[in-house]
């Protein structure tokens, strides 16, 4: 990861310098493509990979000429990417600037004489150093809906004094926060490959509680009344705000992939849990009693992390269809009636939606 990042750092630098250079050079070398589709190569060599194509009649400003090759920058494409590379002199002709005559040896040759070289797709992993173009869209908004899976268990237990002994309560919860998930994000691409994204994902679900409690007998030691019950309607909710670094990789012209990772703030992990158990004796011989459990919501916030990625299928007008998948994880430390209970937060979610680039 670091190597290509460094490459890109240099790429940015190089691009900046070239931009300055192009600017200072002005429009000294104007060339026009004279073949139907001219190959723009990475390096000034015939065996160098093709990084782009220039159509017949395209007029370009060559920054310089190295041997038989002109260094050019193609105009930015639909995604704002401006490819830079080398055109062979045989596929172009120089256009004299005002009053200037074409240089010798620059005359265009008939197209049929040139070997037709098929424009090849740029090899993955080797990209033309991208330059920050003023027309490139950096800001985007991502909206998605999909499915999240999250389920976990937690438990709690405590004791209370009663009739000169201790009663006990034990709680087991199975939380299921799987279901429809929404995801909203706002991102800024600092470079075409690197950006930051702030996203928000709410989550909620149901909790099934299984409870057991023992109540000492009023007359005898070690003869507790045991009660057990369930509550399947308890609630769970957790919302996440994530701040991620995004690393974008173009796959094809239309499809881009990205990875993201960063920190997540779980704001208000909230669970409904047992608060207390009210009891009342029914009567002699006290082998049974009435029990009324009371529930309450408890919440805490937590920091965690997340990692994920996705695919963008670029449509026109700065819109793309987006598929996003993410795994987030954290643990919230709740205080439930004096007991410390750790509850996990986050989960795995996949959404599909739209990305708008500005």
């Amino acid at each position: 990861m670091t190597k290509t990042r460094t490459l890109h750092k240099y790429g940015i630098l190089f691009g900046a310098i070239l931009a300055l250079a192009a600017f200072s050079f002005g429009a000294d070398l104007r060339i026009e493509v004279t073949v139907r589709s001219a190959n723009v190569r990475l390096n000034p060599a015939l065996d160098s990979p093709v990084v782009g194509n220039a159509a017949m009649g395209l007029v370009l400003n060559a920054e310089k000429k190295t041997g038989e090759w002109y260094l050019v920058e193609l105009p930015p494409d639909a995604n704002g990417v401006a490819v830079r590379g080398y055109l062979h002199e045989s596929v172009v002709r120089e256009i004299p600037a005002e009053g200037k005559a074409p240089k010798a040896g620059m005359e265009p040759k008939p197209a049929s004489a040139r070997p037709a070289v098929k424009a090849a797709k740029p090899a993955t992993g080797k990209k033309a150093p991208a330059r920050v173009a003023s027309a490139r869209k950096k800001l985007y908004i991502r909206l998605g809906a999909g499915y999240a899976t999250k389920s976990f268990d937690y438990d709690n237990s405590w004791s209370f004094p009663m009739y000169g002994e201790s009663g006990s309560a034990s709680e087991k919860y199975a939380v299921d926060a799987s279901g429809v998930a929404f995801d909203v994000g706002v991102g800024f691409m600092i470079t075409p490959a690197l950006g930051v994204e702030l996203s928000f994902t709410p989550a909620s679900g149901k909790s099934k509680g299984t409870f057991e409690a023992t109540f000492p007998h009023p007359f005898y030691f070690d003869l507790p009344r045991e009660k057990s019950w369930t509550n399947n309607g308890l609630k769970y909710s957790a919302s996440e705000i994530s701040l991620d670094l995004v690393y974008a990789i173009p796959v094809t012209r239309r499809i881009g992939a990205y990875f993201c990772a960063g920190g997540t703030y779980f704001m208000g992990v909230k669970i409904e849990s047992l608060k207390s158990v009210d009891w009342a004796e029914i009567g002699y011989p006290y082998f049974d009693l009435n029990v009324t459990p009371q529930y309450a919501s408890y919440s805490a916030s937590a920091f965690g992390f997340n990692a994920g990625g996705g695919l963008d299928y670029r449509l026109s007008g700065g819109m793309a269809v987006n598929l996003n998948a993410r795994y987030s994880s954290g643990s919230a430390k709740l205080k439930i009636e004096g007991n410390k209970v750790t509850v996990p937060a986050g989960g795995l979610r996949a959404t599909a939606g739209i990305k708008f680039a500005f």
Partner: protein, 526 residues
Amino acid sequence: MKGTIKVKMALGTLALMAFTFSAGSGQDGRTAGREGDARGGPGRSVQATRGDRAEALSRYMDREISKGNLRLALTQSEDNGTRVHERYNVFAKGLQVWGAQLLRHRLNGEVYLINGELHSAIDVDVTPTVTQSQAEQMARTGLADPSFRLAGTVELMIFPAADGYHFTYRIAYAKFGSRIVTFVDAKTGGILFRFEELQTSSAIGIGTGYLGDTKKMSTSFEDNTYYAVDLMRPAQITTGDSRHGNTVYYVTDDDNNWTSDGTVVDGHAYLGWTYDYFYMVHSRKGMDDKNRELVLAVHVGTNFENAYFDSSNKWMFFGDGNPAENYPYTTALDIVAHEFTHGVTDATSGLIYASESGALNEAFSDIMAVSCEFFQQPEGSGYRMAEWWQGEDIEKRFGPGRSLENPSMVHVWGSTYPDHYSRRWILPVDSGHDWGGVHLNSTIPSHWYYLLAHGGMNRTSHMTVDGIGLSKAEKIAYRAWVYYLHPSSNFKGARTASLQAAADIYGSGSTEAGATARAWSAVGVN
């Protein structure tokens, strides 16, 4: 803490007095307290907030205060006097109007609310026609329990009844667990209103028994004190202290931690355990099967080496024994259960306490006592453990008072307890001879029970019996004793009764009936 204690209000109630009580009866009907408008009186409920109305009322109040018709009863101050609540009792003709109060509330000195009851134009003739003693007699009527005594002072009051104001005597009668207030019309002598003034709640405390063990105490809390009165069982159980004299006193504790008198703790807890045994195993509701109140007294006499059931008042008495040899008699669960069982006999078969019927009386007390022990205590030999002995827990030198398993191991009067009819004591029926040897010969039937439940060989007849188990044997024994024995039953009659009982439950040809017969034969009763 987590659990909130909500205990049902007691069936009985308490009062703070020490006196001998006679046979308890049931509860008198409890009438409603002051909730809602129990009296349905003629006073008008008022509520006036700021404004002219409140001001007018406040001025009215000041006038009535100066006339003595409103007297400040209590001032409640909040926030360093920012808010003050004044409560005034209502008077007319120098007498207080019962239950009436007018309240004035101030915020920073200014009246913001007046509420309460407005009584005006109280035109009542306050010369009594009925004398106080006549009124006292009237107030006593309807309180069936003879232990009710006059409590506090008699007051003349104005009672606001539905049909107007009445000039009345307010009289309170109290006994342990109750304080009934009655309003008697001072003109007509009729009872206008009556209610229960005492509030009690049950509490579970912890006590230390005489042998140092910890037991739960079912007690009552009232007037800031805990009493050794169990209100949580259907039959109220009271443990009292004779203090070696003729009066039985209530036993109290400040914090429901009963550590000062283990004899009280043992007696109170063990009587409850005995009640539980009879309820759970035999479905019996206490001594008389009607949940009659139970009373036991400890520290009876001085070094008194005995315990007894008094059939006149149905109370149980326990001595402290000879300190050189004994622990106090409530230290043994089977002794407490033994005395209680006398109460059951008294309410059922009525076995006469002489000769063979008396021996049966004694035997069934031992039989039920030991069965209770096996129900409540772990099996084994030692203090607070269940074994086929009677009264071993009060012996400082551990050993049986009587043995159901091997009666002749215990020596008495130059001989031993008999395990066979042929070895019975033949004695005149008088106090010097144990009324014909009622204790001495009791081991013949109680040994029968041992053989029937546990099985074994009789050392005199050498007959062996296959035991049918305690839970079957106790059902047969209980049934025979409660339904078929009568005051003059003898051992033969007991054999017949138990065979009938076994046939009732298991069938006349059953193994259980057979074992019952064989066990009687083994002890020489045919």
